[in-house]
Symmetry: D4
Subunit: 217 residues, 8 copies
């Protein structure tokens, strides 16, 4: 298990991370961790390793692209002083190109995405004990689907940056692909983006796996 | 133009037909026609042929399968005494097989679908001046996609029944396919099922085309 | 068809243009185009000419007079940088003289109306590829009715300015008069001002006609 | 003054009588008399003749036609045992012919109107000390307007029945015409039917005049 | 009739004047005049003298004392530029002494009341064509009741100031006393302060009487 | 202390007893005892005599007269099987005569009041260990006030019945009179009927006094 | 892994099982499984064994005791025809003895508890493939605490019945005790009964362990 | 009785003091004193000593620690100019250490607690006629319970400061312990912190006792 006693683990990202978290309450308040993979990771950490006392913080904001992360990075990451940082971003960067194709201002194309994400990660990596990069994903089986193909390219950017910067890497798309073998996308997500509890659990398990989480505990 | 002076045109179907219609108000009340293709058809009919005084009635109910239509057919179709009847059903019959695969009671497989629909149409055809059958559809470009493939099969059943029973036939899937050439599904529908106004307008236009609607008017 | 590939078409006006648009969401959001003629124009453009990718923006605000338009013109028109601009204003300028006759501050009389509208149009015409001026209207058959008569005079001002400034001109009053031959005003609008879907479709069709919209597509 | 000590005065009618009365509270409760002419009549009676102790009851129901009155006449009139009864009905009987022209079931044409109203009045007249019949009205200046013309015909039916059955007669249309000389309809009613407080006060004053109400008191 | 063509009549006061007026809408909006004597005065003025076109404005604010009036006098009276001004204040000045006896800061004793009211009236009288001063009142029959006695003293102050400054004077307490001969206070007001419609009509009639309103019109 | 170990004490009455109790929850639920004297009595009993385990039940219903108590007596008293019963009724029986003087059906005059109350008490007295009768009251200092005078007469009826039937007697009017020496009625109750917490505490203390409650505990 | 392909697993119990499940939607609807251990078990089953297609049903109802389970057993268990049944009941049976000690009707003492639970389990065991009995629990470290001690006794009853009837047995109290070594009860549950996500995950893991769930999958 | 004629008594503290007080209304408004011991103290003071006219003010704010009190002390205590001040603080200072053990920023450890409280009390004592210090408490019988033990230590700090600064001292824990002999904590408080009316009455009585309140009055 890679996390140590008393460490703070902060998640930043878009609506997948946010997962309807209650932004009206302060940290520790009811619903502050949302209903998604962050809450599952926390519950599994507390259950498996209560003695470590890991402090989990959710800073996901729905609708965010990497451009939004950059704007709030100082306040929501640096000022929070986390020991571990987890970042999952890119879904909206891609999605807006497909669901709002005429509104170019909303699109974050792959060059801007790569440049911005690399800059954030490079600057932050030295300040934290560990950093986990998770790929964006799309709940679509067909790899030739236009949006799935684009999402995969963004995922490769994430992998590249993780390699360059000594981050742990979680391939959420790969993890979700396995369950897509059994379940049609509509059984996991209304819109092929926001997964139900099963999808979030897949992500949580993939996340914990890179931390060498011991399920037997 | 196939509709005549003073005729009543009744639409029955699922949420595509329903389209958030206000079920609290009586016919003619604010929002009673919903926000979808039925409202568009009515507005275009009143605009193009005000002198005909066509009376449009919306009896779509969201979530319905052909099994639900059968249960309320007497009250919502026969007792309403329409001159023209339009039926679009089947999306939920198929969708439940994909989004709730474990709950078999929700599924209406193709044999039951065909049998029930044929029975309803056969019995009703002699009682109305005209009957329009519209295919169910799925906003998915990939014809090899499992759910799209199933939906196409249900659409073929509709076509077969239309041919057998002297109904007008609207291939909504074909009409929507054209716009899918330009727009990715996410730009037309959150869930590949419930279209935005553009998608509903495609359906409305396809519907009016089989009535020989004259756009120049 | 006068619109070209990738152009932005912006509508400004009063509640007829606004049509209960959701001002809480950003462009492209659910309900952002309202429920009126702007939404119909957009759906018909996307349906008929999906390959053009016309971007429609609604900047109508209910209750507005030309005085209000002037106050927000820089932000809501110029800063938006539209290729095409459509303006329909004047109903409230007239209506307040009739429904709040004692509150003179609310009235925008014809001289101020003409002067303000001409100034806005003259300044803006060179900055856009095309500009459509639509008359205000009143759903009253009786041309001798006091308010109808005043509205017609404001409509003539619009025509005059359109002629002077090389704008396309839409005579919405004339278009609506035709349907008033069949339907009594109460069948189209509760208050003879805010039309139902039929009335909005009449306006949308009149608008598209001046753009040489091809219905056969 | 025609009303005597301790008498109960009951009003029945449509939304003009109803005037948003609170139907959740029992008689005497807050808002039970509505916000219209009934409340004004009561306030003026209590103010001018407190010593008489007139008990006012409002049984108006919005949307009602004479057909609805007939259905609830036993419960809402006869069982209430009023000393005086006031009836104003007919606006919806006419209006539906103009705002919902295609839905014939909603229309109450003049023969049914006359027959039903006469029957109700004839049967009830002997059971009450006094009965006031008020004409329906339409806030439209133009006597050639189609709906105004029809409303005037229904008003003549009311006058005829009042004459036949020894009822007091209130010509509300005539009373409202006077104020229409000064104010355009839009200043009195959003929809030419539901008057503001001024319009309701005109009706209240016309009503009280036929009772020989003394304003000097 | 003392009011002239086109004059603006402004009412200022406490909750009796306010009477649940809708402060969210602008002048002329639905409910802007409240449900009390101001609305009744307006309806009776418009009904009796429509040709005068009197513009009525309600600036009552519930809970106000004369101290509050002073604080908002510039904005709510002077800046409004009324032709006629009507002032009814003092109920809360007295009431707080009785319902919150321990919270001295809320009390406006008679010396402060007299001084403040005189100053406001003296300064404003020359700027308006007419000024009406109405006494505060208490719906209590027993003249020996402590709060009634205090209220009567405040009423005498109003009379004195009216005499000194050439204002019209309305003795609302005297007008309401008459109806208290017949009705017990509980039949007119839940709390002996906020009258029902009957009580408001008594005030409206007393107000109009000093303007020489002609009821025969 | 008259109450014994494990006894059930049931209160029935009108809104003074009800005191906004939450009728949606079952006994023991949050707010089930209301906010008035019943809740205070219970809190004081539990605090002073926790070892007795007295079970308090509130069956007050706002607006009730003795006529309503009779109608629900079987269900709300007899079926509950209380050891001790407390009854306070009569305020509405009197109040309606003063606040709704024209609606005679609402009035419960003193003969009916006495007869009904005596019948209920006589029948029930043998079935309970103890029965407390509390007078209705009116927060009015002036004993010559019409409604206060009537209320006092009803209070005398209560005393008479208590004497006849061996009930404990609580003179709430007398208890409240003492505090009215200091506080004006408006400081205790908005409407001279529904007391604030101070008034309810006066009632609770008077109630406990007849039970020989020991405050020193 | 004890569960087989396509089996239905039904959970019945009290608020711990219910966990705010949405009872307005049908099976499979959003929120139908609640937010507690049932939802976690389902997500972990679907994630670990998607190919099995286990169908999870939640029939927990908050506030229930074993007495309530008996009343709805036919409808909510037998008629549902589950392959596996999980039962966790008893918390309210005990809790009411401590939080509502005076209301004996609410208490289900240990004899009734044992008898009822045994009867239900015995009758049902032959009709299902497997049956899991879970103990009730109390998030209290102190084994001498009165309510904890009682809860432990009810837990022993569960164990005894499980042994007698060949059921799988989950000792939730024992599982939760481990985490109570680290966390004070207030960190897990507001009221020592309703756990947060961590507590629910402990229960879910204990449940899955008896099914020989393989975490490595 | 220690309080004198016309004195102002101000309570400051956390949610126990706040007790859902309505912070939207000003002093004296409905619900301004909350539903807890402050409201009970006030009702008992007004009932027992109405002639003293004690003015009670509630400045409790839920969730507060002594750190929060310090931040608002000037505005909420000093500027209010009370004659008597009552302070009960510390529950949240302790509770956060147990319910949010990982979020150290929320914890107010005993040294900071003592130092801050002493400073506030020392500075304020000379400015008021009397000052009452109440201990924080925890509704837990087991004195070896970790959180109860910590709470007791904070209570001893309060006692020490009271002794040093000539304050009256209320040992709320001791007072509540007595009732805990009879009732299990769950019968008094959902969470062992927020008492029901019985618990608040215990506190109110303990408070009044140190003021030499005479219950016989």
């Amino acid at each position: 298990m890679k996390l140590d006693q008393g460490q703070k683990l902060l998640f930043i990202g878009d609506s997948i991370t946010d997962a309807e978290r209650n932004k009206e309450v302060r940290e520790g308040g009811n619903g502050a961790l949302g209903k998604g993979y962050v809450a599952f990771v926390d519950a599994l950490l507390q259950t498996g390793y209560p003695e470590l006392g890991i402090r989990t913080v959710n800073k996901g904001v729905n609708g965010n692209t990497v451009r939004n992360l950059e704007a709030r990075w100082q306040e929501d990451v640096i000022d929070q002083n986390p020991d571990w940082l987890s970042v999952m971003i890119g879904i909206n960067d891609v999605w807006r190109q497909y669901d709002a194709p005429l509104i170019k201002e909303y699109h974050v194309y792959i060059d801007e995405y790569e440049e911005t994400l690399r800059k954030l990660i490079k600057e932050t990596r030295p300040q934290v004990k560990g950093l986990i990069l998770m790929t964006p994903f799309y709940l679509e089986r067909n790899e030739q689907d236009a949006m799935r193909r684009t999402m995969d390219q963004y995922g490769e950017v994430v992998k590249k940056i993780a390699d360059e910067t000594d981050c742990l890497f979680v391939d959420t798309q790969a993890a979700l692909n396995q369950i897509l073998n059994t379940y049609y996308p509509a059984a996991l997500a209304w819109d092929r983006v926001h997964p139900n509890a099963t999808g979030h659990m897949v992500i949580a398990k993939a996340f914990l796996r890179v931390l060498d989480f011991d399920w037997g505990k």
